[in-house]
Assembly symmetry: C2
Homo-oligomer: 198 residues x 2
């Protein structure tokens, strides 16, 4: 890339390291950044530095946050006796967007994956178990519906059973608006197994 | 997005301003940046600041570069009597990648677009005309094969004609590997009109 200037080539390289950003996209982004007003480019650079330097894990639910405790955990209006277990802060965000869940969360930062060598001790499971000694009525397991997510859900439910706390799993089935014709067999079987009376 | 921390929400907002980056992608990128080693996040932020602060237009061909003159214009091995006119530095990069063009370039930074209110004075056309008073044998017009690119090519060729400098246009036709069946009629017509003897 010696037909680009050193700074530009470096910016393309740095952007190209981000996930899902290939060389072409990195170039497009780099040229866009060069055409931005300087203060806007500066805000972007600062946002990266500030976020990397200041964001940490919530001491209660382990999601990413600025303060010692995240806004959800420190909100007295939320139902702290219901904990939804998710894999990532993005999953938490997805449920928050529904605006219909008033409990709190626990972010595992991953899922058990024997294939990838990720065991229960590699995710935030200990932190969850510690929370269960407090006042908890229900643990909703909302890990992904993947092999790893299901493994994690099974493992968790076995771990929680002795405590006597109610443990539930979010429903798996045909997505709303989904066309049966295009849905895989496993999902169809799940939808059948999970059928409810009308 | 108050379920995210302030710094994280700000990073997502800043990233989401980049072209082709929606909220979901911005979130994905933001979480990736948070999981990077701090020095890598720092390099990304620095690359943005440095590039925005130090990259300028080449005094000869108007491409983006670090120095007063770009590496191509300051290379005595290149044929400075052949100028290829392109719309953007990315187009220049595309031709450089072929490794088969040894002339120099002129970057217009846009194309004439009456629809968007972009006239000849809004792009680097004056700078090109100034170069033509020097020793120039051929001007190859390599603007895009779009309405704007064609308009610019027509306008340029009329402007250059009085100087007597040879003006050519890159060929338009069926792309290599292209399947006739799936190619639009305008391209097919162009390919027919531009046919060469075997």
């Amino acid at each position: 890339m010696d037909y680009f200037s050193g700074h530009l080539a470096n910016l393309v390289t740095q952007l190209g390291r981000l996930p899902g950003i290939g060389t072409k996209t990195a170039q497009r982004l780099a040229f866009h950044i060069l055409s931005m007003p300087p203060e806007q480019a500066e805000s972007l650079a600062e946002a990266i530095t500030e976020a990397r330097a200041n964001v940490r894990y919530c001491k209660t639910c382990c999601t990413l946050t600025d303060a010692e405790e995240c806004p959800i955990c420190s909100n007295p209006q939320r139902d702290h006796e219901t904990i939804m277990v998710v894999e990532t802060p993005r999953d938490l965000a997805a449920y928050e967007k529904t605006g219909r869940y008033n409990g709190v969360y626990h972010v595992l930062h991953g899922a058990i994956s024997p294939m990838m060598g990720i065991g229960p001790e590699d995710i935030r499971m200990k932190e969850l178990m510690r929370r269960l000694s407090g006042n908890v009525k229900e643990v909703i397991i909302a890990t992904n519906s993947s092999l790893e997510g299901e493994t994690t859900a099974m493992y968790l439910s076995k771990l929680i059973r002795p405590t006597g706390i109610k443990t539930t799993r979010i429903a798996s089935g045909v997505p709303v608006g989904g066309d049966l014709e295009y849905i895989d067999e496993v999902t169809l079987m799940r939808a059948l197994e999970g059928r409810t009376e009308l």
